[in-house]
C-alpha cells in the first residue's frame, strides 16, 4: 500500500488529508457530480429555448420563467463543485455525507417555473 495522502492531487484541501476511501465511492461521487452538471445544462437549455423559440405565451411571464431557469442553471454548477469536494473530504475522513444544499431551492424553483408557464399560457 502506498501512503494515504498524495499532495499532487488537486485540490489539496480535499486530497491532502484523511485516507483513501473505497475507489468505487470516489468514482460514484464523480458520476453524481456529472449528473448535476447535466442538470445544469438542461436548465440552461430550457431557459434559452423558451425565449429563442418564443412560443405564443404572455411575454413577461415567459421571460420570468426563462430567467428563473437560467438562474437555477447558474447555481447548479456551483453546488456541484461544493458537493463533490465536500463529499470527497467527508469520505476521506470517515464523516457522513450531507444532502445537496440546492435540492430544496431547485424543487421550489422548478415548481415556480411551472406556475409561471401555466399562467403565461392562460393569459396569452
Amino acid at each position: 500500500m502506498s501512503s494515504p495522502v498524495t499532495p499532487r492531487r488537486f485540490p489539496r484541501w480535499v486530497f491532502g488529508e484523511g485516507s483513501e476511501p473505497d475507489p468505487r465511492f470516489t468514482l460514484a461521487n464523480e458520476r453524481t457530480f456529472l449528473a448535476w452538471i447535466r442538470t445544469a445544462l438542461a436548465l440552461l437549455a430550457c431557459g434559452v429555448a423558451l425565449e429563442a423559440v418564443a412560443p405564443p405565451m404572455q411575454p413577461q411571464l415567459r421571460l420570468a420563467a426563462s430567467v428563473l431557469l437560467i438562474v437555477l442553471g447558474l447555481l447548479t454548477p456551483v453546488q456541484a463543485w461544493f458537493a463533490w469536494s465536500r463529499d470527497e473530504r467527508a469520505m476521506r475522513n470517515g464523516r457522513p455525507l450531507s444532502a445537496p444544499a440546492l435540492m430544496v431551492p431547485l424543487a421550489v424553483g422548478s415548481a415556480i417555473t411551472g406556475v409561471l408557464l401555466l399562467a403565461a399560457l392562460l393569459l396569452r
Binding site: P23, L27, A28, L34, L44, E51, A52, V67, G73, P77
Partner: protein, 114 residues
C-alpha cells in the same frame, strides 16, 4: 482493464464513470450546435463563437474522460485504490465552463430586453 483476466471489480466502475463523462460531453456538443442554430439570428457571428467554444469543451470532456479512465484503471490495477488517481482539475474546469455557459445564456436572454 484486463490484467490476465483479473478485474478491479465486476461493477465496471471506471467504465461507467468514463461513460458519464462522455455523455456529459455529448450533451454539451448537442447544446452547442442547437444553441448556435437558435441564437444565430440575434447574435450573428457571436453565436458561432459560442458554438465553437461549446464544441471545444465537449472535446475536452470526451478526451479527458479517456485519460482519466486510463489513469484510474492503471492505478487500480497497481495499488488497488486511487491514491495516485485523477484529481479534481477537470471537475473544476467543467464547473467554470458551465458557469460561463450560464452567463452567456443569461446575456442572450436578458440582453435584448435592456
Amino acid at each position: 482493464m484486463s490484467d490476465g483476466g483479473r478485474r478491479f471489480d465486476p461493477g465496471l466502475q471506471p467504465e461507467r464513470t468514463a461513460l458519464a463523462w462522455r455523455r456529459t460531453g455529448l450533451a454539451v456538443a448537442v447544446g452547442a450546435i442547437a444553441g448556435t442554430r437558435v441564437l444565430f439570428p440575434t447574435l450573428g457571428v457571436g453565436a458561432v463563437v459560442v458554438g465553437l467554444l461549446g464544441l471545444g469543451l465537449a472535446a475536452l470532456l470526451v478526451l479527458g474522460s479517456t485519460r482519466r479512465a486510463r489513469r484510474a484503471e492503471a492505478c487500480l490495477l497497481q495499488d488497488g485504490n486511487l491514491v495516485s488517481g485523477p484529481g479534481g482539475r477537470l471537475v473544476a474546469a467543467v464547473c467554470v465552463a458551465s458557469t460561463a455557459i450560464g452567463v452567456a445564456a443569461l446575456v442572450a436572454v436578458v440582453g435584448p430586453h435592456l
